[in-house]
Symmetry: C2
Subunit: 436 residues, 2 copies
């Protein structure tokens, strides 16, 4: 596919201008690889997490949610193999000393910044060390987690002991991970601090292919549900040499970002690698058996979804431009389940107290029911529509003089601009049932 830097620029600019996403530590010039979510980004982010949790945890009976500390002890990362193996290949320019991901360069001889000669490739570990404790000379180094999966493996026994689940079952988690990326770039795509939405599904070895297929389908179902354009998603069967050391089969779900086709989600068969490593590392028995069965180490299927990459793919899928009433407009086709604002309520004219009062009343009713409702009486109605279109608000409700005569309000649809008149007492049900 071809890249589309203008589209990325338009999305980044909209995200900043409308309060979705700002650079981290912004007033100090930003901190590379970190991003702050503004009011609308926080709501969108929250709604995506809730939808993921509903889809992968609440709506199922075989899932257990957990939420583990982001700092974990060195022993965890030694056992998991991350201390030695969680590295990216790095090269440094001998002249300007800039550093690059060796595997991202077309030419590994000359520096892309200054043309200087590049040094030898080295392995650079991505884990951030954290000096824990106050005893000088005796500080134990812990690490910010580079992936959230280890939180699930380390708690496998705790969940077995307390919840007594039967195989197959999964542990699910949403939470931060941290990687000291050599070169953060491409907006939310390659960052140093990010949320993951992930599950480890524990199975018997002989059923791995069946469960792998089941989760593959579930991931596609989620892709549709969250509003990522499925035409832009492509499965990549990761070859023998390219898979992570623990994986026997991996499918990457790649997305056509404006900067190219790159990873969005991953589905990996991790075998019994991790639990075995933690049995070795900790000496704790992490085996499983049902009555009369011999104890064994369960195998694992891992569907993994980056939260920031989901945000980005959702924004790329939702971003649209068209012409309406002879004017160019920009709008976000967000589904009503994740849109930061479900509906905006306005009086037709802001200088008519009777309209304003009625509009406030409708607003209060809807806000109580849905939360994600705003009151907007700035500018004229046309401007309000454009402003709401740009942040993806599915419905704009206007209280006009007919409303005062009991003729209902107008509900205007974002994508088509079409309007319907709806009775005030039916609005709650209407907004709940209307597909968008």
């Amino acid at each position: 596919m071809s890249t589309n830097p203008e589209k990325l620029e338009a999305i980044v600019s909209l995200a900043k201008r409308r309060g979705f996403i700002f650079p981290g530590s912004d007033i100090y010039g930003g901190l590379a690889g970190t991003w702050d979510y503004g009011p609308l980004g926080t709501e969108l982010s929250h709604n995506i997490k809730e939808l993921w949790w509903k889809h992968f945890v609440t709506e199922r009976e075989d899932m257990y949610g957990i939420s583990t500390a982001t700092i974990m002890s060195e022993a965890v990362w030694r056992a998991s193999g991350h201390l030695s193996g969680f590295t990216d290949p790095m090269v440094e320019c001998s002249k300007c000393h800039h550093r690059f991901r060796a595997d991202h360069l077309d030419d590994t001889k000359k520096c892309p910044d200054c043309g200087g000669e590049l040094g030898e490739e080295k392995n650079f570990n991505l884990l951030f060390p954290v000096p824990m404790g106050s005893v000088e000379g005796n500080t134990s180094t812990a690490y910010l987690r580079g992936e959230i999966a280890q939180g699930m493996f380390v708690n496998f026994k705790n969940v077995l002991d307390t919840m007594r689940p039967k195989l197959p079952f999964g542990l699910a988690q949403i939470g931060k991970a941290y990687r000291n990326e050599i070169a953060p770039r491409d907006f939310l795509f390659r960052v140093r601090e990010f949320d993951l939405m992930e599950l480890e599904y524990f199975i018997r070895e002989n059923s791995w292919e069946e469960h792998f297929e089941m989760w593959r389908k579930e991931m596609w179902r989620f892709i549709d549900r969250v509003g990522i354009d499925r035409e832009s998603v492509h499965e990549l069967e990761v070859g023998d040499g390219d898979r992570a050391h623990y994986s026997k089969r991996t499918i990457d779900f790649e997305f056509d970002y404006p900067f190219g086709r790159k990873e969005l989600y991953g589905l990996a068969y991790r075998t019994d690698y991790d639990l075995k490593k933690h049995i070795e590392g900790s000496g704790v028995d992490l085996m499983y058996a049902e009555e009369g069965e011999e104890r064994f180490v369960p195998h694992v299927i891992e569907p993994s979804c980056g939260h920031g990459r989901t945000m980005l793919a959702v924004l790329c899928s939702a971003y649209a431009e068209d012409e309406m009433n002879g004017e160019k407009r920009v709008y976000l086709k967000l589904s009503k389940e994740i849109a930061p604002v479900l509906c905006a309520v306005s009086p037709l004219l802001k200088n008519k107290p009777e309209l304003v009062m009625k509009a406030r009343e409708v607003y209060a009713m809807l806000k109580k029911e849905f939360g994600r409702v705003v009151f907007d009486d700035n500018g004229n109605v046309g401007k309000r529509y454009r402003r709401q279109d740009e942040i993806g608000t599915p419905f704009c409700i206007v209280v006009d003089f007919e409303t005062l005569e009991g003729q209902g309000v107008t509900v205007r649809m974002r994508d088509t601009g079409e309007q319907e008149r709806v009775d005030v007492e039916n609005l709650n049900t209407y907004l709940k049932n209307k597909t968008y």
Copy 2:
């Protein structure tokens, strides 16, 4: 008040046994000051956060939620004063080299562990440094945030520019903070990684007393709403010498934990200290004015709630023992809004397929509506009740032979053990409306 170590022990033990809270990095002996939430703890934690957000953000019109990176640049912490001032007084034993919080010792001469002589008091900085970037000798040190408030101050201008709010308004955030505590202790009370639920409310200086009072009332309303026993909460007016350097007035809301009366929440008038510091530090204009007004730096009221401390105070308030049917029982009086499980559905007998089938049907209906619903057919009904009591499930629903004859199900109330018969088609409404 007197302390009650047995009660703390009972709560810690229940929390571990039933899948609420485990030590972090548990199978490796734990990592001091970190905790992992199991399936029930994750749900309880989530429900508390949602309730806080609803109370302080969604139900109001003057609040803007944000969610900022946990790693912030050094410049932020230099400007805020944390690099130099975010310290605890520490003393070290000259003999065993254990370190202690000087202000937590009754006697600062002799070591409480070995009786050795304690050295001089030093200031120990609580910020965790994070080496960002890959360039050796040129790594910039960033810091894990020691408080989440700076995320709000640094984004003050971004929110002004994008959302155009009018004073008074607030920025709200829920998220992780990190402190390298000298001596983590008392379960969730003093930890190194924790969530905060906090808001910065921007006002005109002359209205600070009025807004301080408003937030004081709102915090009490939240204390009641989340289910913290208000008789165990005490306001402490923090004296001139004891307030943080930025505060002109602070009230601590202290709670009677089993280990003593200590801080739960804080309400601080931070004046214009932070914004002014960031204007100095960044050179960016963080002032505000309405039309025709001279630009000024807003003042700030900060209601701050620790999330782990809320969990702990909620558990302490909910923990109860009594006798029922001649047996001792333990139960958690959690409100139905935050209980990890809203209701459990069981067949009276698990070996009667017609009961099991009907119970599964009722379960499926309720799970679809409420999510937090479990199916429980282990042991006899009495045992199921006790198990659900212990995790705070407000309602236990049993499908019996009368159900098959259209006589409804029994709904048993956790606190009293009383039962009511409710028609299946009325269950959704019943559970929604029943106060608990």
